[in-house]
Symmetry: C2
Subunit: 414 residues, 2 copies
Amino acid sequence: MAAWRYPQADTTSSLKFDFYKRIAQSAERGKFDMLFLGDSLYTETENLYKHHTTARLEPLTILASLLAVTDYIGLGATVSTSFNEPYNVARKLATLDHLSNGRAAWNVVTSSNDKEAQNYNRQKHYQHDFRYERAAEFLDVVKRLWNSWEEDALIMDKESGVYADLDKLHPINHTGVHFTVKGPLNIPRSMQGHPVVMQAGLSHRARQFAVREAEVLFTIASSIEKSKQDYAEIKGQLSLFGRAPKDLKIMPGLLAIVGKTQKEAEDKERELQQLVIPEFAVRLLSNQLNVDLSGYPLDGPLPALSDVAHFNGEKGRYEHFLALAQKENLTIRQLSLRLTRGHGHLTMTGTPSVIAEQMAEWFASEACDGFNVMFPYLPGALDDFVHEVIPILQERGIYRTEYTGTTLRSHLND
Amino acid sequence: MAAWRYPQADTTSSLKFDFYKRIAQSAERGKFDMLFLGDSLYTETENLYKHHTTARLEPLTILASLLAVTDYIGLGATVSTSFNEPYNVARKLATLDHLSNGRAAWNVVTSSNDKEAQNYNRQKHYQHDFRYERAAEFLDVVKRLWNSWEEDALIMDKESGVYADLDKLHPINHTGVHFTVKGPLNIPRSMQGHPVVMQAGLSHRARQFAVREAEVLFTIASSIEKSKQDYAEIKGQLSLFGRAPKDLKIMPGLLAIVGKTQKEAEDKERELQQLVIPEFAVRLLSNQLNVDLSGYPLDGPLPALSDVAHFNGEKGRYEHFLALAQKENLTIRQLSLRLTRGHGHLTMTGTPSVIAEQMAEWFASEACDGFNVMFPYLPGALDDFVHEVIPILQERGIYRTEYTGTTLRSHLND
């Protein structure tokens, strides 16, 4: 989280197109399925946050700029169902999907922060269940809008003057609890039918949502054993909704810290952690757990915290950090450094071959279908991963050497 | 409006990135200030509309893709204040402005169609005054969000670990009739400060709004005399708000139909009009005037229509078409063909030198500051204009031969 301070990090250009272009083209050279961008809808103004990268460009706009300088890589972003209208989201993603020839993906999130709600006419955010009810209806409307043009509705016959066969456009006439949307969309079906739907929530409710609706699930992994259990369980649930195991790809977040030697990688990790201001890390942890930890000894244990059922925030992450602290008997300082190291995600620190071997093991033992790889600093750490780790995965025959299709959905099923 | 049927029109690729790329690069070769895209938030499904180009990609997404393949040209689009949230619009436009190095512009519209409202949880659209009240508050919030970071707020000092001086970020704490928005934005100021604000409404209310808030005003011109009057009047009103005449650029729409000879140009215009299906043209006119004209003789006059004060739609266009019909004693068929020919805008049909001369006359006689040039078909008619008309304007010394700045605001004031 303090990686913008790392000497090789290209900090000043993170508001520039060329920065994103370089990252996208590097990831495409690495034959990644997708470039994924998260989002948040507010910024902190309290003085302690001066250490934080408080600027965040709007991700769909970044992705649209990148479709012009890439040909294959998928382009996915987080868009909140709590602070948007379904007709707008359906259009933006359908447009991205058309212009990119079928490479768009949407990570459906409900947002969880009161500070975001305060930029959207509310003092407090909706409660957890309400958010997911709204999200389910939102996604239903968006999918129906995407499907509101039959595949062969566009005619464009200059001779007869028929542009579209309007019998093949279908109003959705949706009247629900949260939305009333007549439709159809004013955009035809795209090359991949419609954008790929993804989910990143970790709560029970979010998981149910993913099993029913998503094609990609981003998870936060605490161990290979637990991930294998979760994987089997989630894949098993798909059949309840008439879906096959391959229909939902499970991808834990993975922070990859690559070094030429094990020592170099570990030094890099330590250096990165030393850039974190301790009081700031504790504040971030306090926010994550929705409790003020600033009065507790940095090198002491977490105080007793309330049950997840009474927590209105990112429930899955709340459980993850509490379990982590308990299992590894972590102090507040240690836990806060886990948070600032890749937001508590699985971390692999080592040589290219060590990391490739671990990734292969996770994959072979059905702990995941792939990874949402994160890099400690950009663009250098991505370049290193592409040049050093990916060739080993390719040699092992578990990673593509060329794209075989042009749409994101084809990459995911490749 | 039937130009998609024109033999040289590149119809099938209008959902493809390469189509827009070609247009944007051609306009940039022509040293245009800006590429501007309109929008609408619904599609028709009634059978008669099968002749219409019912597909419309979301314009901000298109513009974002184009920033990657252009360096100078401004990128402007219509975004509705009736069906969006100010925090989202502020972010998207600020992101476009950053990634394009200061080339973004927003045409602020309130939308006017019940069919759009029906895609956004309403049966009927808001009334005219309510729409403009909401728009005024919306724009105020967006501008304050754009101004919520002081120019030197970003520090990014790796040594001290200070990313931003948060004392230079200012919550806007807006609590209004339509919106409650705390702020600040999570995006710093851009290279041109903030995106250019434009206005296209023609009603009295819209005009007031433009005089107070906009930097560019798109108008619909009926004659050079009337435009000179309007120009003088609008420029005169600017001082009431502490603004100089140069602070608002007035640009009437102009459909340019260029031919090698006058006859070729006129033939082209006739050919284009013959592609319009008459019943469809009458329907479009019926919609514009919010009255069913299908029962009246095609070659007879308009029936008596209600006063503009009682019309809840695009009031300015309503007045324009009624005045046009009266002044030129047009039949329903003739008026409908004016509508389908560049939506009733000023049309110049002729050789490059005739068109250049007319444009120069409008400019020299202070009927306008420039034009929002429309092309009967794309990309060919744009290419012709760039290769044949612009060089004459350049020779006359009234049009740039090179961009002198890099931001849109610098082009407008060049």
